[in-house]
Amino acid sequence: MNQNQGGNDARHDDDSALSDFLASLMDYTPTIPDELVEHYLAKSGFQCPDVRLIRLVAVATQKFVAEVASGALQQCKARQSAVVKDKRDKQQKDKRLILTMEDLSKALREYGVNVKHQEYFADSPSTGMDPASRDE
């Protein structure tokens, strides 16, 4: 009986924690707006009138994007520190952290998402060729 009671208490704690959390979600405004989340959830068949669940999904997505972005940030910083090793002057200039495709693809690879990006796009088949060999 004690075990069961203990188990029940734990379950109650978990339940109350979750319900408290869901209640607190109403105060917290996720970055991803509710309308957007509702739209895409409705598109995939998710039906729920409860706003708290919508907020839960929005927060979860926000957490996911934030994790990916922080992984890309680490890649970017690592690359910058590798470059700066030689020249100390660049450290002052190149402080801007820009999210690039290479960093993103490396970060996403951990999550099992394969993002390969085109290196460059050519205007026509003869771009970059010698002017002599190009057909005018």
């Binding site: 978990d14 707006p33 068949g45 998710f46 999210l99």
Partner: protein, 368 residues
């Protein structure tokens, strides 16, 4: 927030207005949200393609969570999802990188690691609301329902059709009705009218030609009278081209007169405006619609006043001369020219133009 590195792509995008794709609004909003999240993480600039890729991934994550949650709910025999379905969906997506308690099978889902991580995140992360208010989308338009038979007040076309069903479309939408021309057209009458107008045009041209010849003569009154007689007899016969040829001496034909330019002293005597000369012809054309019959009315008056000439140096005008016009058998053109009431002024102008041309091209006159 500034874009780094891909300015040329932006320029080419701005040149041509692009049509919005099917989910353009949603994608734009998600792009902004993702950019805000990345900014909170610490980034200062983004490439446009990266932002698009990341927002695409975020949207896919949302859709996957929804799909999985819905699947779990259906599995449990429900159509509406609850919190447990959502947590299972999140666990499913998060299982690739792992969370604490993922291997635990028999523990309550409420205490799963995913939930705990989310709670942690909410407690630690800064609250950044979305930059702009987002309206409810997609906008649902109320479509007009087809009215039923009862609403239309019609009885359905068969006993087997209940009246509460939508009504059939009107019969004129699917039955072809013949188009009738409102005006009654009589092709025979039209042809007769056309022939009559042509004849009138020929007569006018002839009389014009005669007048030009006559007015080029030395003595205005006598020659004009002679021209009148000639014209009168000719007009009276109807179509002069079909009349039998005249024998020599039968008719009193005026002598050939040199044109005004070669005669120095005789020209100034003629003092009549062009309009007066051609007034009868213009009157005749005006009256063409009045007289219904095909009368060969003689339009030329008995008395003819002299014609006033404008002396000019022989300047060749570009364009058709009177001679060519007469030779030109475009009678149809003349019919259209004559047979309209509204173009009276136009006709007067044309008459003046013809006369002017004949004055300025005296060489052609000798050929008449």
């Amino acid at each position: 927030m500034s874009d780094g590195g891909e300015d040329d792509r932006r320029n080419s995008d701005n040149n041509a207005p692009k049509r919005a794709g099917p989910d353009e609004f949603g994608r734009a909003v998600s792009k902004i949200a993702v950019a805000q999240i990345c900014e909170s993480v610490g980034f200062e600039g983004f490439q446009d393609s990266v932002l698009q890729a990341l927002s695409n991934i975020a949207v896919r994550y949302l859709c996957d969570v929804g799909k999985t949650a819905n699947f779990c709910a259906n599995l449990a025999g429900r159509t509406q999802c609850n919190v447990f379905d959502v947590i299972r969906g999140l666990e499913d997506l998060g299982s690739s990188e792992g969370f604490s308690g993922a291997s635990g099978v028999d523990q309550c889902i409420v205490s799963s690691g995913t939930v705990r991580e989310i709670v942690e995140y909410v407690n630690t992360a800064k609250e950044i609301p979305f930059a702009q208010p987002v309206p409810r989308f997609p906008v649902v338009r109320n479509c007009k329902a087809t009215p039923s038979f009862v609403q239309m007040g019609e009885t359905p076309a068969g006993k087997h059709i209940p009246p509460w069903l939508p009504a059939f479309p009107d019969s004129h939408t699917y039955i072809q009705t013949p188009m009738w021309n409102e005006r009654a057209t009589d092709p025979r009458a039209d042809k007769l009218e056309q022939a009559r107008q042509r004849r009138k045009a020929e007569r006018s041209l002839l009389s014009l030609q005669q007048r030009l010849i006559c007015n080029g003569s030395a003595s205005p009154s006598t020659s004009v009278e002679r021209c009148d007689d000639a014209e009168a007899s000719r007009a009276a016969e109807g179509n002069p081209f079909l009349a039998s040829p005249l024998q020599f001496g039968e008719k009193d034909v005026s002598t050939v007169v040199l044109p005004a330019k070669l005669l120095d002293d005789l020209v100034v005597d003629n003092h009549v405006s062009v309009l007066e000369t051609f007034a009868p012809a213009i009157e005749a054309v005006k009256n063409s619609f009045v007289d219904s019959g095909e009368s060969e009315k003689n339009v030329v008056p008995e008395k003819r006043s002299a014609v006033h000439f404008k002396l000019r140096t022989g300047k060749k005008i570009l364009g058709e001369s009177v001679d060519l016009r007469l030779k030109n058998k475009s009678v149809g053109k003349v019919v259209s020219w004559i047979g309209r009431d509204e173009e009276r002024d136009d006709k007067k102008r044309r008459a003046e133009y013809i006369l002017r041309q004949s004055m300025e091209n005296p060489q052609e006159l000798t050929q008449l």
